[in-house]
Amino acid sequence: MCLAIPGKVIEIFEENNLKMGKIDYNGVINKACLAYVPEVVTGQYVIVHAGFAISMLDEEEAQRSFEAWDDFADRIREEGYEVTSAPLSDKKRKESDK
């Protein structure tokens, strides 16, 4: 359930007495209700579901998980596993296309 995606607040305005915003998702802009994130300011990311921002996106927390995940990658490298961005299997395919 509950498809919700992060977008950046690029404009804040009021409509029918509700705090609303224009949200940028990768270049496409959609309107969302910001009544549930009263503290949000432009430039911040919110998580939007069915036209409502249901949460602010905590960028510091996001950074923290990235760091934890980088540790995993480091550990694997130390243990001699190769980590690349190539598909997990069938690495040969790209070569055969050329």
Binding site: V37, A50, W69, V83
Partner: protein, 365 residues
Amino acid sequence: MKYIDEYRDPEKIKSILKEIETEVTRPWVIMEICGGQTHSIIKNGIDQLLPKNIELVHGPGCPVCVTPLELIDQALQIAARPDVIFTSFGDMLRVPGSNKDLFKVKSEGGDVRIVYSPLESLKIARENPDKEVVFFAVGFETTAPGNAMAVYQAAREHLKNFTELVSHVLVPPAIKALLSSPKNRVQGYLAAGHVCAVMGWSEYEPIAEQYKVPVVPTGFEPMDILSGILSVIRQLEKGEYKVDNQYARAVSKNGNEAAQKIINEVYEICDRKWRGIGVIPASGMCLKEKYADYDAGKKFGVSNIETHEPEVCISGIILQGLKKPIDCPAFGKACTPQHPLGATMVSSEGACAAYYRYQRFKTNI
């Protein structure tokens, strides 16, 4: 896209998979509650990337799937009224009632419109004062803030032609019901990230404590799901059981209090029937007496609803994680997305539809 692509990166995925492999020593059964997670798992093939001794079973977290047939039939009756503009999320239009769906009602002359936000429904109500505008308010806790706001806002604006047909459901009572079942085999839970964003993760602490199961609020991208699984595995291997938030960028301990306030203003807890499962006490929300004027069920006094569920459909058992879609004799034969027998085949996040769309070639159907 920022804050999406990072969580799909193959390098990260590969290293966390390795981490999971290192930690697992025994077979474990984990349930992802949320249909959105089921969709992501099956679409990305996460179940196939995991070590073989981790079994994922798919939970009941699909509002489209669990909305009771009586309510779908009620929606169909209301939508067919000539004085009504019936508005709904796109998800509900193909859900089969006892003998038709909302598309059929539309083709028969009903004014059925898809909206993306409940506020669009309010807009339609303002623009059509001579029509009754009904919004089909389904969903879990994630959708409740928006659906509650529509009613709250309608009351503030004294809009007399807007009502909701409410079928809200709640996650924690469903988890408890599953855990209390003697047939339960699930050992750890991935809690639905966006439900937790609204309600906070603290409401799962009593569950983890009482049933001694790890509960891990988890996001929806592949990396989110894998880090949720890693947390559950680590706890299970150590014999621990706690709530470990793995979706910290969106979920806090207490959730979104501004949203909870409006939800509690408009809705109250009630017993709710789940399609395929039955009545779960205190597992739903309905409009408070104070907002009875906005209750489409009351306003349109729908009558004589007799429902018919196809007997062969095992969606209830699938929603409880006891069987997989491929165990159903009708799967891919009598029951396909074109001719669904049960709601789990209709919703894009229903387990049956996900299996049908993404993994069918393995079953040779």
